[in-house]
Subunit: 95 residues, 2 copies
DNA sequence: ACGGATGATAACAAATATGTTATCATTCCT
DNA sequence: AGGAATGATAACATATTTGTTATCATCCGT
């Protein structure tokens, strides 16, 4: 049994988390961070972003508190007015 | 009001689409292209990729023929063994 | 011609996200 | 204190994707 001391240890343990799951978790952390930061930096409330993006305020709240993982169309609806998009990149380009 | 479900519906819809919808279309084009190309370049059949990724063959077929838009966890499950991941980038960095 | 592999599709169940509406606790301002 | 704004949450309906299982047509090699 491996000793798990940190979050990184947990994330790097492939017996518990697959590489794809790790990618997803890292992506969500990055997503929520940029999403919340950009929204607040633009001085927008969840309700205002809801009006602009077309995604309802409860859905935004659920996403920001990581209760749910967004669908791709929801992702673009929210990221677009915040000045972001997503792109596909080779795995080794992120190291 | 027309129901828009697939990429074909987008292409056959002459009405305007929002910026977020356009981002989604571009993303899906990029995704399917790289997904199919990488799979074939690795000499993998849909069934083999299904075993490796954990995503069932019918689901892969639906995605490659753009019948459905993947969920984010499905996206990572498929892209990871093909050597890709996705990242969040500023909008102007894609021009 | 035959058998195997391949991609596509059908039908239904299960899982998950979002819409909708309402409400709540907290913070902030007057 | 009072009121408005904010983020979070509840409950339920709706929409969409995926799992599951089976089947089909086509192509390819023997």
């Amino acid at each position: 049994m491996k000793q798990v001391k940190t979050f990184s240890d947990y994330m790097n343990d492939e017996t518990r988390v697959s590489p794809a799951e790790r990618e997803k978790i890292n992506f969500e952390i990055e997503l929520i961070g940029k999403m919340v930061e950009a929204r607040q930096q633009k001085g927008l409330s969840q309700r205002e972003l809801a009006e602009i993006s077309g995604v309802k305020q409860p859905a935004i709240a659920r996403l920001e508190s990581m209760k749910t993982t967004p669908q791709i169309d929801t992702l673009f609806k929210i990221l677009n007015p915040l000045g972001y998009t997503i792109s596909i990149v080779p795995l080794d380009s992120t190291k």
